[in-house]
């Protein structure tokens, strides 16, 4: 994964649209307007519609907006309390250095802003987070002046619909040789089809063995996730998708109970790796079965057999269901 310039499917450059500040929660924190981590993102994102005006399935060809958002001069001086809340929540050690998962949270509102544009062809709600890949070239510290960019790309078929990549980058303000951080979030929109009509394709998600047949490794840890896990991460990350907040709101989207944010579980795994990850690392995750809340997740975070970095996997032990798996691999500086 190399940091490429934003481009359309056809290869043409995306139109750069510069926003005055990061929308939402992180921007509020940065301006010191909020002292508490309990600010609801629903309140923090008032100017964004809750549901994008998506086209109905089969409503004509899908096309991603040819625009990339950019916010420069992002101040991080005021982020210390927010970073502290994040670190406590995902069990990162207290530090002024931002873990890769925190930069995901920082860039999330801008990526969301892309997805809630009127010309974004897919519905924000109901999209399934399939996988995430981050290159963290860091370190990024509280006080650094940053530029954040976000766009959507790579609309492609999935066996159950279409998938897209939401790309976000964090740069030193004013640019530089390469991004300090680059995250690619792959989402699935079920029931949509591309013009060529091919619904099948490589979906990038882990193999879904039938329930009860997968054999897990020995655990190195066990997470007891309380019923408020989704609400807590929603408050800190700003991602207050109803499927994470309560059983009632999750049922509306077809889940029996609230489910944990995938990025919360991946961030916990990243924190578990600890200092061994170094300053620069590639952090990947593929999401499997959702983690129902409250719930217990067995995890194995172990050094990779080839000696490069760590692998991790999380599962439901009684039902032998894989929730997520991924890796944390050091990058050469």
């Amino acid at each position: 994964m190399t940091a490429t310039r934003p481009a359309t499917v056809a290869g043409g450059p995306l139109r750069i649209e510069t926003l005055p500040s990061l929308p939402g929660l992180a921007g509020l924190y940065a301006r010191g307007a909020a002292a508490s981590g309990r600010i609801a993102a629903g309140r923090a994102l008032p100017h964004l519609p809750v549901v994008g005006t998506a086209l109905e399935p089969g409503d004509g060809p899908l096309a991603l907006p040819d625009v990339a958002y950019r916010v420069s001069g992002v101040e991080t001086d005021g982020l210390a309390p927010h970073l502290r809340d994040y670190q406590r929540l995902v069990h990162e050690p207290a530090s002024d250095t931002m873990p890769a998962g925190y930069l995901h949270v920082l860039a999330f509102p801008l990526a969301t802003a892309v997805m809630v544009r009127g010309d974004f062809p897919l519905p924000l709600l109901g999209m399934v987070h399939l996988s995430n890949a981050v290159e963290h070239r860091g370190p990024v510290r509280v006080g650094d002046l940053l530029e954040v960019r976000a766009w959507a790309e790579n609309l492609r078929p999935h066996r159950r619909g279409v998938q897209i990549d939401l790309v976000a980058e964090v740069w030193p303000d004013g640019g530089g040789e390469r991004a300090l951080w680059r995250g690619v979030s792959t989402y699935l929109a079920k029931g949509f089809h591309l013009p060529d009509g091919s619904p099948s394709g490589v979906d990038g998600s882990p193999e879904r063995a039938p329930s009860g047949t997968w054999a897990p490794p020995l655990p190195t840890g066990r997470w007891a996730l309380g019923p408020g896990t989704g609400r807590a991460y929603g408050a800190v990350s700003g991602d207050r998708n109803p499927i994470h907040l309560s059983a009632l709101s999750a049922k509306a989207f077809g889940y029996p109970r609230a489910i944990a944010h995938g990025m919360y579980t991946a961030a916990r795994a990243l924190a578990d790796v600890g200092n061994a990850r170094g300053d620069a690392y590639r952090w990947t995750v593929h999401f499997g079965r959702p983690v129902l809340l409250p719930g217990t997740v067995d995890v194995a975070v172990t050094p990779a057999e080839d000696g490069t970095g760590f692998r991790y996997v999380g599962w439901n032990a009684p039902r032998r269901l894989k929730h997520f798996e991924g890796g944390v691999v050091p990058l050469d500086a």
Partner: protein, 462 residues
Amino acid sequence: MATRKTTNGAPRGASSGATGSARTTGVRDAVIVGGNRIPFSRAGKRYADASNSEMFTAALEGLVARFGLQGERLGEVVGGAVLKHSRDFNMIRESVLGSSLSPQTPAFDLQQACATGLEATINVANKIRLGQIDSGVAGGTDTISDAPIAVSDPLRRALLAAQHAKTLQGRLKALAQVRPGDLKPLTPATDEPRTGLSMGEHQAITTARWGISREAQDELALASHQNLTAAWDSGFFDDLVTPFRGLTRDDNVRADTSLEKLASLKPVFGKSLATSAEVPAVPTMTAGNSTPLTDGASTVLLASTDWAQAHDLPVLARFVDAETAAVDFVHGHEGLLMAPVHAVPRLLARNGLTLADFDFVEIHEAFASTVLTTLAAWEDADYCKNELGLPGPFGSVDRARINVNGSSLAAGHPFAATGGRIVATAAKLVAQRAAETGKPARALVSVCAAGGLGATAIIESV
């Protein structure tokens, strides 16, 4: 004009730090004079309303009575508790003040999970060996029944913020942050903070990795109960234990247990490992071959040989040397309770000894399988080569020398009190053996602890 600077006049005790010259060169022997503990009791039973400091004071006062230390200024009293309330800062010093020792006896608290008692002994012995003190008491106490209960972090932070606020408005604002869920009290857990797995679950993984059978664990548990019962019946503990709250014997020991009874118990740990791809393992760890939660306290009196002689006190044994270790368990490289496996080879190498040189081997029975994985690891050539850096297997231990008077499975395991129980037991065992045979006797002590820690020591007859 004479000024009186203290209210209690001149020091009464004879022990006052380093003897003789201004600089101490080399080390001298630290000897174990004796020990005293209260009977250990299963959590929630006889000591249900006894506090840590009450139990420690009782054990300490029994030691004072046994060795006539009333009014004596000892060099130091060192001990601790694993589950300790924040108000119990200086708990050991407060116990000293509540005892018949001279109030001029210094004290401090330390804590190293289940190795607390042995670490306290190491500290006191080292000070004696360096000539910094001539006498000291090491010990520990723990209660599950009277464990401190904490409030949640959000409630605690809100209460602290309210306390720090200068105005009523500020206080109310701080308290308004509290959510109903924050009011749930937090009871102490034996989960490893970094992994979220309980100690039993960690050990279940280690047990599975080493393929330790249910039968072997139950046999070891049975031996612990039988050995401890025999030791009580023979009067071994008559000069090591003082009754407390009407209890005269450890109440967890089951003289009438049997392999059949132990075999009938359902597994409690490692139940989810049966489907593991790495080590598909039928769960083997039960309440019968795991240590029960227990209340209790223990103490050991250590001294220099000169001090013991000057006070006309007997000497059981010499505290020769000690080694602590820690293992990398967080990502499963090593088992949580395997640190003593690493410590002992280093300890023995430093002292030019092998496992065969020990008449007694005291391995704390956190779980029966802890003892068995320890023994299996020392016999495994690959493991000893790759993990311990040894040329081959470290060696075998004659089962007849292990925990001959029972250990934690039978006696119970009040975390910080176990070290003192084992040190006193081992010291008396080598003293008895040496008296019987006329030859020196030696004991190895090994205690595993949470956090991947372990403490080990050598005790030798004098």
